[in-house]
Structures are given as structure tokens and as C-alpha cells.
């Protein structure tokens, strides 16, 4: 059997890294999987579970072994990790293809270019799988996590086309649908659809929890509230990091939202029935169309 890659190094062996290793093993994309991170316990657990074949605590060794390095650490650490890898590769030709899975791309692109004399490292292909789970850690990893999920790649000028093709093939081999976007578009779309909703849900729950009537509020909240605030149970450290990493696009999203909320507030204050009805109707129509897209997407699954 021939493999597109001999050795994949997973940097940060949690839900995403572990699931990718499992899935790539199943798909026959790579022969060997090596884990690297600072928590030796996760790496040993990954060995026990058969997710990785070996691990190292030495970044130079990880780089030596790798055909592909996938940075799966939390968002803010991902930039540092890439800087460390790139500084070791500076001036060398060849070496591994490098990719990541972080939720924000602009800050990582910036860090990578700084570490590479202001240019794009040709072998670095930034990516973001739109997949996850409420569970975390290598114990929660599963080989099907990416099946029928989108993976956004953000190739830039200066990228080696062969490196981009390899990372695309890697994600396609685990059943994902790969889509290209610019870094700016990626960060704006994610701010709007994910980062802003998290900020709104956290803000609402925190505001209610601090109100005098918080006992009654949570006692009488119903199903709509449960769905609306579910994402406020997400990991605070992860979302702190994402909010900071994507702060420019997130601020834009917050400001646009606040403008719209201000307009709706005025419509409520003046009992402007027509404006309220028009706004709610437009939103319902858009949300119903979104439901159809989702239904269509799940129909395409085997």
C-alpha cells in the first residue's frame, strides 16, 4: 500500500487532533502518526488508545520526522507554536508541510509572516475544520468527526501549490468538503456566525445572572431560552482566546449588531408595528431559508 504521507505529526492531541489522526489512519492517508505537546499524559493516553504510534516532547525531533505537521493546539497557542516551528525551518529548503485548525486565521497569518521575514512560508497552508463536539480531549476523539463537514482553507499568494493540494487531499480523505476562502472573508464569516453569537449568549446569560430576579428568571425560562443560550456553556478560556484573536472582525460584527438592535429598540419604544413586523418577517424568511440549506445538506449524507 502506498500512502500520500508517511508521517503526520499532530501538535496538541485533543478532540480535533485525535479525531484527525484516527480518521487519517482509517482513510489510509498516512502510515504513521506522532503526537507532540507539553502534556505527556495526553500523549500516553493517545498511545494507549492507538490514536498515535509514538510521541515526542522535542520539537526538533517532531519536525525531522514529519511529512505533515498539523497544529491542533488552542487558538492563541497556535500562533506561538507556528512561530517556533517556522523559526527552526527558516533558510531550509524542503521540510514538512504545515497546517492548522484554529478558528481564526488573520492573527496566525500575521504571526507566520513575521516569523518568515515578512513573507508567507510557502509550505504553510492555513485551515479551519467547521466541526467540534461538546466533549473535549483525546478520549472524545472519533474518526467520523469530519465526515460531511466543511473545512475552510485560506491559501495565500506565496503558497506552494503542491502543499495546498496535499492538505486539501488530507481533508478530503476524511470525508470533509474543502472550500477556499480569503483569510479576511474567513474571519468575517466566522465572527458573524460563531464568535458574535457566542458573545451575545454569554452576555445575555451573564446579564440575567446578575439581575435581582435571576432565580425567577432561570426558573421560568423555557425551551427557546435553552436553545438560545446553549453556547454560553462553551469553554471560557477557548472563547476568550478566540475573541482576542479575531477582535477586529468581532468588533465589526458587534457594532453592526448593536446598530440593528438600536433600530429595533426604537421601533419597540415607538410601538412601530410595521417596522417590527418587517424586521421579524425578513429574519424569519432568512432563518427558514437557512433551515432549508441545512436540511438539504443533511439529505446529501449517505
Amino acid at each position: 500500500m502506498s500512502y500520500p504521507s508517511n508521517t503526520v505529526v499532530i501538535l496538541g492531541l485533543g478532540l480535533i487532533g485525535g479525531s484527525l489522526a484516527r480518521a487519517l489512519r482509517d482513510s489510509g492517508f498516512s502510515r504513521r502518526f506522532i503526537g507532540y505537546e507539553h502534556r505527556e499524559s495526553s500523549l500516553r493516553r493517545g498511545m494507549e488508545l492507538g490514536v498515535i504510534d509514538d510521541f515526542t516532547l522535542d520539537l526538533d525531533e517532531a519536525i525531522e520526522q514529519a511529512d505533515i505537521m498539523v497544529v491542533c493546539t488552542p487558538t492563541l497557542i497556535a500562533s506561538d507554536m507556528l512561530r517556533q516551528i517556522l523559526s527552526r525551518l527558516a533558510g531550509r529548503t524542503g521540510g514538512p508541510v504545515i497546517t492548522d485548525v484554529a478558528s481564526v486565521k488573520g492573527n496566525i497569518l500575521c504571526a507566520a509572516q513575521q516569523a518568515w521575514e515578512g513573507r508567507m512560508p510557502p509550505q504553510l497552508v492555513l485551515g479551519h475544520p467547521i466541526a467540534g463536539s461538546e466533549r473535549s480531549g483525546v478520549d472524545a476523539s472519533n474518526a467520523d468527526l469530519f465526515v460531511d463537514h466543511r473545512v475552510i482553507l485560506t491559501p495565500v499568494e506565496g503558497n506552494d501549490p503542491a502543499a495546498v493540494a496535499l492538505i486539501r487531499a488530507m481533508w478530503e480523505s476524511v470525508g470533509a468538503e474543502v472550500v477556499d476562502m480569503t483569510v479576511t472573508a474567513h474571519d468575517a464569516v466566522l465572527a458573524a456566525t460563531s464568535h458574535l453569537p457566542h458573545v451575545l449568549a454569554y452576555t445575555l446569560v451573564d446579564a440575567l445572572a446578575q439581575s435581582d430576579a435571576s432565580d425567577d428568571i432561570f426558573r421560568f425560562a423555557a425551551g427557546g431560552f435553552r436553545d438560545f443560550t446553549r453556547i454560553a456553556s462553551s469553554d471560557p478560556a477557548m472563547w476568550r482566546d478566540i475573541a482576542i484573536a479575531n477582535r477586529v472582525a468581532l468588533l465589526d460584527s458587534i457594532d453592526t449588531f448593536s446598530e440593528h438592535l438600536g433600530r429595533l429598540r426604537n421601533a419597540v419604544a415607538t410601538a412601530n408595528a410595521e417596522q417590527l413586523f418587517d424586521t421579524f418577517s425578513r429574519a424569519k424568511q432568512a432563518r427558514d431559508e437557512f433551515s432549508s440549506i441545512l436540511a438539504q445538506r443533511s439529505k446529501q449524507k449517505p
Copy 2:
């Protein structure tokens, strides 16, 4: 068999009214059910389904027949309907006990007092079942809709205690848990837990739909966004009416939320990691406690 009530008149035969009639028939609370509203087709359909025994298009006749009148019309129409009923009863002693199911209580209390020479009609007991469905209309009605759901009653000074007891018994007979609150507390709690989340979801979806990147936005939105925006698919006319009916409490809720959002915006703008982490952590803790309450509640179900 003896019934606590001989005849219940349902004014507005939709999901809530139809479900209540079915449930009260099953519980043996009333012998007879009569429908009243302006859509004769709904009434005929209710007869076909066996939800009601008879109907009338004449309000005087409905009043004559009723031991209990339950106003189940949409929120804004409920005030008018109560005014019509109360103006016919003014100066009379006895007559039916009257209740409603509207989502907002302050505007209805106000309308009722205006129709009753500035005092509280003793036989009017305002209520709000915290139950619903994405479906609507009498065809969607089901006898279990209120089982293990909360019903908030807002009795006020001037209410006849026997009338309050009868309405409490009515809801308890269909499996609901009845809780008393003041009108002001009810409207504030509902604004915070239901009306504000709807406004936020409508605002977000409308803002995104109007953005230049709306195609990409809806294409890449994931599960968190789906849950967060589900309530933006709710009926625009119903929510226009609720927003207007509860505008004072809703404006308070919007303003409190906006203040908190403004603070969080500043934390993002200044990359204040500590403030972001603290806010997100407090919210997560409150949301996790809410999850436990919900889990506890569903465990109590048979």
C-alpha cells in the same frame, strides 16, 4: 360524575385553546366545551376533531353559556376581547369566571381595569401557561401540552378568591404546575427570558441577511448558530404584538443587555483577557446551573 365546571368557553380555538379543551375534557374538569371566535372554519374543524361540543359566533350567547371563559386569542386581540366581555358584564353580579393565556399581563390588566371603572374585575384571573409548540392551529392541539409545564397566575387585589381557586384547579387538573407572580414580575421575567432572546435572534439574523457576505454566512454557519437562531423562525405577527404589549419591560431588558454588551465590546477592543474570561466563566456557570435545573425538572416527570 360531578364536574367542577359545567361549560368552558374557549375564545380563539388554536393550539393553546384546542389543547386546553382536549385536556380539560380528559381530566373531567368540565362537561361541555364551546368555541367562540371569528374564524368559523376553525370552529367547524374543532367540532370535527371533537375538541369542542358546540360553537357560537355570538359573544352574548357565549357569555350566557359559560362557567369559565378562557381568552386564547393572540396577545393584542386578547385585550380587546376582554374589554368586550367585561363591558357586557358591567353592573351584573355573578357571571362566568374569566381567564386568559396571553404572554404579557400588564397591558391586559390595564385594559381590564379601564373596562371596569378603574377597578379590577373580581372574576378575571390573568394567567400564562409556559407551553407552546412550533405548530399552530386547532389541528396541532394535544391534551398533553401542559403536563409538567408551568402556568403563571397573576392574581391581584380585588380578585375573588373563589375565582382564583377555580382557575388554579383548572390548570392543575391538566397536569400543570401553577405558580403565582405579580403582574410586574411576570412581565419582567418574560421579557428577560423570552421576549429579549427573540428580539436578539431576529436582530442577528436580519443583520446577517442584509450583509454583503450573507450567502457565505449562512453557508458556513454551524450547529451553534442553528440553535441560537431557531427562535427567529417564530411567527412575526405574534412577536410584533408581544413586543408592543410588553414594550416597557422589553425596553428595560434591551437596555440592560446593551450595557453589558458595551462592556464586553470594550473588553474585546482592549484585549482584556481577564475581563473576557471572568464574564464568560460567570455565564458558563449560570448556564450550567440552568441545565441542572432543567435536568432535575425532566427527572421529576413520570
